[in-house]
Symmetry: C2
Subunit: 420 residues, 2 copies
């Protein structure tokens, strides 16, 4: 245990039963390692581990952590424990933690570290180096931020520049003034986008007067990117959150079932729609055999179109283009693909029944696929304009919607061509 890195211990821990996790945690003698472990494990496992801990022990462990990590741990404690812990941690730590907790979850303020390496712009390189030597509570130093008399952020420079300039150089003379900063309310996804685009190691967080309140560092940004990617993927499958494997069978079922009701009631609606066409089906029972391929093709084409739309929204690629242009493009892509499918499926229908059925099926599949592509695009784009995360769109909503459209197109076309 002592030879392993804390990150590896944390990863191994998630595979153990809750009781074994607590047993293993008790065997971690080194307080700093134990504190680090609380940070590295997920929220669910953390809640399990703290059950065993006295408030005194927890406060002692938290004292080893930087403020942002300390806040993350405190944020997920049970209400009562959180209040007791907050009462007992050091005075200025408490002020910082309480400030961070006031920011909304998933905001820059919540993931920032309130401590950064700041100097006055008129200070010299020598003074900066001296300050650095004395500042023991700083984590990894990414940049040196420079302030004016009003404590406003006016520039930034690198540690390297301190080494490569004469000791008496004024910091203001070697700083970059064009500093990208965010406010604490900015969503963490937006912070991640900024850090990714401009290849930054840390982004300063400033208040409305451009006074620095903290920095968001690149390691936290990486966590955000992973979190958001996982969230998008789960949302697209109609799941709300991560951490499934940590739940019991009942918990898992409850978490997954919500969106499935959309499919369930959609399915009942489908039974009703098909009921309307009962006469057609009675006259020609073979029609039922093509219900699955119509639904399946429509659904998958719609999911593709929606996935591409979600990606383009995420990367900002579709920003410049109007919804009508995008929609027309999707319909054409769908129409082209539909033509290919129509040849295959029409030939199959002709070979197994007759040319009329072949024609009816061919027309149905082209129309369905073109409509599905357009519908798959429309849902995420509309959700996005309404301010809803477009990733929810490709889940049960798109497929269920397209299923109904596909069936109506199919039977209407068959009635028209086959005269049923």
């Amino acid at each position: 245990l002592e030879k392993s890195r804390i990150e590896d211990v944390a990863a191994a821990l998630t595979h153990l039963t809750p009781a074994d996790q607590r047993r293993l945690f008790r065997q971690v003698d080194d307080e700093e390692a134990a504190a680090q472990l609380l940070v590295e494990i997920g929220e669910f496992d953390l809640k399990n581990l703290v059950q065993d801990l006295s408030v005194e022990r927890l406060v002692a462990l938290l004292d080893h952590l930087p403020i942002d990590d300390e806040t993350d741990v405190i944020a997920v404690l049970p209400d009562e424990m959180r209040e007791q812990v907050l009462k007992r941690i050091q005075r200025d730590d408490r002020a910082h933690v309480e400030e961070l907790l006031t920011y909304p979850e998933d905001s820059a303020g919540r993931i920032m570290s309130p401590v950064a390496f700041k100097m006055h712009e008129d200070a010299s390189c020598r003074e900066a180096i001296e300050a650095l030597q004395e500042a023991e509570d700083l984590e990894t130093v990414f940049y040196l931020y420079l302030q004016n008399d009003g404590e406003q952020l006016v520039g930034v420079t690198s540690l390297r520049s301190l080494l490569t300039h004469a000791p008496n150089t004024r910091l203001g003379d070697l700083m970059t003034t064009d500093v990208i900063a965010v406010t604490p309310e900015v969503d963490q996804e937006q912070v991640a986008r900024i850090v990714s685009r401009y290849d930054m190691l840390a982004v300063p967080v400033v208040d409305e007067h451009r006074r620095m309140v903290g920095i968001v560092t690149v390691d936290d940004v990486i966590d955000v990117i992973h979190e958001e990617a996982a969230e998008d993927m789960l949302l697209m499958a109609g799941l709300r959150e991560e951490g499934e494997s940590e739940r019991g069978v009942f918990g898992a079922a409850r978490q997954r079932i919500l969106w499935l009701f959309v499919t369930l009631f959609g399915g009942i609606a489908m039974a009703e729609v098909i009921g309307v066409f009962a006469v057609s089906m009675k006259n020609m029972p073979v029609l039922a055999g093509f219900i699955p391929v119509m639904m399946g093709m429509g659904g998958n084409v719609g999911i593709q179109a929606a996935t591409i739309a979600v990606r383009n929204i995420a990367t900002g690629q579709s920003q410049g283009t109007s919804a009508a242009v995008l929609l027309f493009r999707e319909a054409r892509v769908g129409f082209l693909m539909g033509l290919v499918f129509a040849v295959v499926l029409g030939a199959y229908g002709w070979a197994t029944v007759d040319a009329y059925l072949g024609a009816a099926i061919a027309v149905s599949i082209v129309t369905t696929v073109a409509a599905a592509a357009a519908f798959g695009l429309l849902v995420p784009v509309s959700l996005n304009r309404m301010g809803v995360d477009p990733a929810v769109a490709t889940g049960p909503f798109v497929t269920t919607g397209i299923d109904v459209v596909a069936i109506v197109i199919y039977f209407t076309t068959c009635q028209a061509i086959l005269g049923l």
Copy 2:
């Protein structure tokens, strides 16, 4: 144009037509900005921009770039142009670029920068600072790497430690010896996992003798994480690669159509399967109405299970658990959800037709949902053990497979209970 950041210009560029892109690019006077722009835009746009450029101009632009970015640009040039460019770039740059190009795409060797800040472990802090002052070709310096007489990587330290120790301190005395490193052949996804887990700003790349050949920096890792997340999402929808919006309608259709043939032929198989049950359907046409809900529920439950499995594989969460245990767990989750659906759907069947049909539908939906959950887990887990990216599983394969299973379960159950 001159006031904008290059990253923003690059982002705006992707929205323009190819001709407008080239026109705008010609207006970028600053060579360094133009070179940077080549790095920031995507592969597709890059190929468009270089069409206009003479080899001489391109070589002049590339001279402004660090080796790893230079290699990225050269790697996507048309074959003939690449050879001409390689002939004309500076001698030692060429050696570096050619070396990087020997590594497989998506490997650490391909994304690394071959230049890093290295010193002998016996050198002093003063010597390191002097070296730093003279080294102008270094990009952002993340860490100082220390080597022994055999040029093997033996330790690492931070720039900050140079500032906070006496100038005559031996570097070997302030280094961390426990250095995580990768070899050039390691997959970029694995590199990203290491950097994410251990919160590193750069990871050294070493050869088989532990001599440093380069570093992979955190900004490149962020690009990898974005790329892999996008790839997974697209794979799950049965799409092979990014960059759809850059293609024409024909290109887009061609790219999307491949996996849809799985659905198409699956759909024809379904028509055949349903044909087998034609007698049941003739006796009771209302049965056809429930085909969509069986397929839809099976498909969505299967996609959920597969998505969760893909996530768990990606995060390493299911490593410790046997496939049989996971499978049994999924089947139970599916069974529980199926019970809830059975009540709703069975009641609907009873109300609209009779108790027998209600019972048949209830039994079918429970069995289908449990089977779909198990099947949705099984496909990605099996693919992963076969060494295939499990993300392909949730696309058309899972849904088409489950559709067939759902229909067979449904009609077999109806025949057994309703005696059709």
